[in-house]
Assembly symmetry: C2
Homo-oligomer: 131 residues x 2
Amino acid sequence: MAATRYSRQRNAVKNYLLSVRTHPTAETVYDALKEEFPNISLGTVYRNLNFLVEHGEALRLDCGDGFIHFDGFTDAHNHFYCRNCRQIFDLEMDNVDHINLIANAGFDGKIEEHILYFRGLCKKCLKSGAR
Amino acid sequence: MAATRYSRQRNAVKNYLLSVRTHPTAETVYDALKEEFPNISLGTVYRNLNFLVEHGEALRLDCGDGFIHFDGFTDAHNHFYCRNCRQIFDLEMDNVDHINLIANAGFDGKIEEHILYFRGLCKKCLKSGAR
DNA sequence: ATTGTTGCAAATATTTTGCATTGTG
DNA sequence: CACAATGCAAAATATTTGCAACAAT
């Protein structure tokens, strides 16, 4: 049922996500794809981003800045949000999945996952004296 | 400047937050206060919730369900979001702030805090067979 | 009397959706 | 040819804001 068909727009959305490490919003993806597809609509971008997320080909990042960001790299990794320049960065860090066990220790339900964002100042903002 | 004045509405918002452990949304607070203030407006509720958050008297919880939830208990504690009944629960668990150090180990910026939500099934949903 | 706060409504802003058309298989 | 995907515009959702009236100090 509802077989998936190829579409150049979806393919372009996916390729764009794989070409950047900036965790773009839908609007940013839209702006980028307008070059190749002048008539592409924001609705199509949203539909394809949601499609990719639902099919495990992208991550939806809701870091609380009012925008949903997307990440084409789906291997487990953590994110850092700079409160100054509002960019999201990937973190290379040891796995912290053990916190799920800590959380489940005194909890009657079933903890399946966690959503985790680190916040602070990125290297550039730190050096430029933001505080 | 801009001295804060007392208002019965703000006081009621704060008292309501302190009377529940349900992490209500603005809409829920609004519905609850309409009993005492039939003419209260949603705008007033939002303004007061934001005021309380900015003054450290409430927490804003953005767990990614599309609503911002509020918590009148500002002592450090973690939250669990049930993906079935969509309620937020407090977790009594050991502190995991050490993850900030793990994250900062290979990072050039300054990690100040983390935003953390656990997800899964709460006790009730687990027992009722949700999956 | 001054000005912070409210209620109301309109405005924002982001994301979703209905529908006629286009394109894939 | 069937129907998935698109482009466009309108709708839906959550939150913010302008402004005149009200209320606290």
